[in-house]
């Protein structure tokens, strides 16, 4: 049997360490899992993306920060101290022998599967602000918590509109909340928690709006206030920040990438991941409080001008019309969304670009899902690597097998594929189409 030198077979992915257990996310659930594994005598790596690259914060990743963190977040060393102080369990984990990597994001999870047989074993892609690397693992514990749900209310794209998780991180994790006076949206425990934390920190509360109502966030270049309807009359309040504490959802991007089954379970927040061999999901990433956003979403999405996808400027009306992006200046099919048959969010994404932007769909994924699920619950939109938008230069720093580079080819390296197809294929004793030479393959 011959081998195909340009295929992935036989190529290696150099690892920077191997661990019995890696834990992604150093919140309470992650620290508990890491400690338990270390106490059982395992080699454990615990990674957490905080302190975040301020560039990611500016893109509302992983939470809706709304530009309301002050310049303190630029000081990485100080932020690292704050995070250790805010999470006392980290010190205990380190003492127990857990290797802790802060400021390290998990951008890819790669398992051997029927579609990726050439991989030697499970790998996790990690990155800091300078470079990317891989570690090997036997078992992974995903403790990536929950993500803010954005309801596309009028004015939500103004700086100063935050999510509950973003607000909590700004206030308690980073100590860098830049606002003075907030309005809180949402009627559940989440909103009550935001209000209580704000009061404890001496932050003014301009309004607490518990139920979905006609509402607009006001401001010229950033949030200046909020107006909402109550008992038939419009009320107004001045504030510099609006905290959308309507709902959160399990942050299941890594389990999805790893191939865990994903199930729709509104009692646990919406889409939830299931465990699979070698992959455990703990804490909020496995399920959050029952879904509380439906009424808010329905009201917001009824407005055709609602900005659903801010990165790609896709309005609710554009989605319903299945309108191509504005730069094409074209209309969608006459039937709109109905032209597609059973709706799939990934397909709608590719046609309208909703969810295709630099925030990787974090801010619109739940709203688009609600919109395309009017008749039946659409399947969840896929997550793809890199799970954080990493600069080319950071990914480019990943160590590469010299054999992969030496045998690189643009497309399969079959010599006859690139010769005129109106002429017969030259005879080759072994490879029917002939192999490109290593030199020729490089084109």
């Amino acid at each position: 049997m011959s081998s195909d030198p340009t295929s992935l077979a036989g190529k290696e992915f150099p690892l920077r360490g191997r661990f019995a257990t890696v834990v992604v996310g150093a919140g309470e659930a992650g620290i508990t899992a890491a400690l338990a594994a270390a106490e059982a005598g395992q080699s454990v790596l615990l990674v957490d993306e905080h302190p975040l690259d301020p560039g990611l914060m500016g893109m509302d990743i992983p939470w809706l920060f709304g530009g309301r963190l002050d310049a303190a977040v630029q000081n990485q060393a100080r932020m690292e101290e704050r995070i250790v102080a805010a999470r006392p369990g980290l010190e205990a984990a380190m003492s127990a022998g857990v290797e802790v990597a802060l400021g390290t994001s998990a951008w890819g999870g790669f398992l051997r599967s029927a579609s990726s047989r050439a991989l030697a074993g499970p790998m996790l892609g990690l990155a800091d602000r300078r470079s990317a690397w891989l570690v090997g693992f036997e078992r992974i514990v995903v403790a990536t918590g929950a993500r803010d749900v954005v309801v596309p209310l009028p004015g939500w794209t103004l700086p100063g509109v935050m999510g509950a998780r973003g607000f909590d991180a700004a206030l308690r994790l980073y100590g860098a909340f830049a606002g003075q006076r907030i309005a809180v949206l949402g009627g559940g425990v989440l909103a009550a928690g935001v209000a209580a934390a704000a009061r404890a920190a001496g932050i003014g509360i301009a309004a607490e709006i518990c139920a979905a109502a006609p509402l607009r966030i006001e401001g010229a270049v950033e949030v200046e206030g909020i107006a909402w309807q109550e008992g038939g009359a419009w009320r107004q309040a001045a504030c510099d920040t609006v905290v959308m504490a309507i709902d959160t959802v399990p942050n299941l991007e890594l389990p999805d990438l790893l191939g865990c089954p994903i199930r729709w379970d509104p009692a646990r927040g919406g889409f939830v991941p299931e465990a699979m061999p070698g992959v455990q999901v703990v804490g909020d990433a496995a399920g959050t409080a029952p879904m509380a956003r439906a009424g808010w979403m329905a009201a917001a999405l009824a407005e055709p001008h609602a900005v659903v996808c801010a990165c790609e400027e896709v309005l609710a009306g554009d989605l319903r019309a299945l309108r191509p992006p504005r730069y094409l200046g074209a209309e969608g099919p006459e039937a709109g969304l109905a032209a597609l048959g059973p709706l799939n969010q990934d397909q709608v994404k590719r046609l309208t670009r909703a969810g295709m932007g630099a925030c990787q769909g974090r801010r619109c994924r739940d709203a688009v899902h609600a919109l395309v699920s009017a008749e039946r619950v659409a399947p969840h939109a896929s997550h793809r690597a890199p799970l954080r938008p990493l600069p080319l230069s950071v990914l480019a720093a990943l160590e590469e097998d010299p054999a992969l580079r030496a045998n690189w080819t643009g497309w399969f390296g079959i010599a006859a594929q690139w010769l005129p197809h109106w002429e017969p294929v030259p005879e080759h004793p072994e490879f029917i189409g002939g192999r490109l030479t290593a030199e020729d393959a490089g084109k």
Partner: protein, 375 residues
Amino acid sequence: MIVIVGGGVTGLSTAFWLSRQGHPVTVVEKGILGWEASGRNGGGCTHPYSPLFREEQRLWPMMDEMLGHPTEWRPFRIKVALDEGQLDRLWKSTRLATDQGFAAEALDRAQLRELCPWVGPAAIGGIFWRYGGHANPQRTSQAYAWAVERQGGRILQHTTVTGLRLAGGRAVAVETSAGEIGCDAVVLAAGPHTAQLAERFGHRIPVAPARAEIMVTEPLPLLAHGGIDGNGLYGRQTLRGNLAYGGGPHEWLDLDGDATPRAVNTPVVASLARRLAEMFPGAAHARVIRSWGGIIENTPDGRPILDRLTDPDNVVVATMSSVGFGLSPASGRAIAQLVAQGACDFADLSQLKAARFGNLPLDWRARQGWEALPL
């Protein structure tokens, strides 16, 4: 009724041309239209080694109007070389087109940097192809489908073809998960599944499935000509401004019964980023926001099979051997002619018959090193 098995770009284009001429067509797709490699490739429309090249070049400028929906097609390609070897090889492939009367010009580093500010001092020069182009794969696949429906054709998604019913040397019905569809002719354009389906009526169409990967960055300011690539990568700047590039190692796979294997990514994505940053150091700050995979099929010699069989004599087999998107306007028209008139009148398809693999050893995949690794 002409039944087209496979709602990829080749089958959809075939249905477009047939329904345009008034033939009744039904496209049967096991999943979502254009969902596999058809909707997620590099978008290139430049294939000078194909007998369909001239027709490809003639048709693309007309496709938006004919289809009634934008394909995002844009003309021209720019090739970048980082060393003399790359430049020599670029000229070799350029001559395939210039020998057919198409024009190309050498670019020095300064001219290259004027066309693309991200190229660095490592670029020694390039070539401007006054031919070829690029388009949006998903939008194009969907545009064919909507045009088919507008022309009276029928499209069935989420419907799996299980076999053909033959009688008197002809296919008389296509058997599907939703029942039988009576037919006068069949086009088998099922990508990696073509071999499996052909085997069920006794024909050997040798193709091997493989997985390939692409990555894409956040949008950058628009270049005047987005079809720029090199350094072992194929790809383009999309009309939105994203840099979408693929290349590098593929992986040979097996089908998962009637299902197409999952198109997962591997750390090869980082190698794509590395080569893009080498070619465009001025864009190395751009953030990679997504990657994806695609499952394609190759014949043993990497060339298409476009062939009307003799028994059953009303079945056309069509696989483009991993290079189907860009050629689709022309391949669909050629296949439509094979169906309707038995031969293609605008291109020489004589070398693309299935019979060339008549003596193919049974273990051809193993001999070529194209077998899926054991799981």
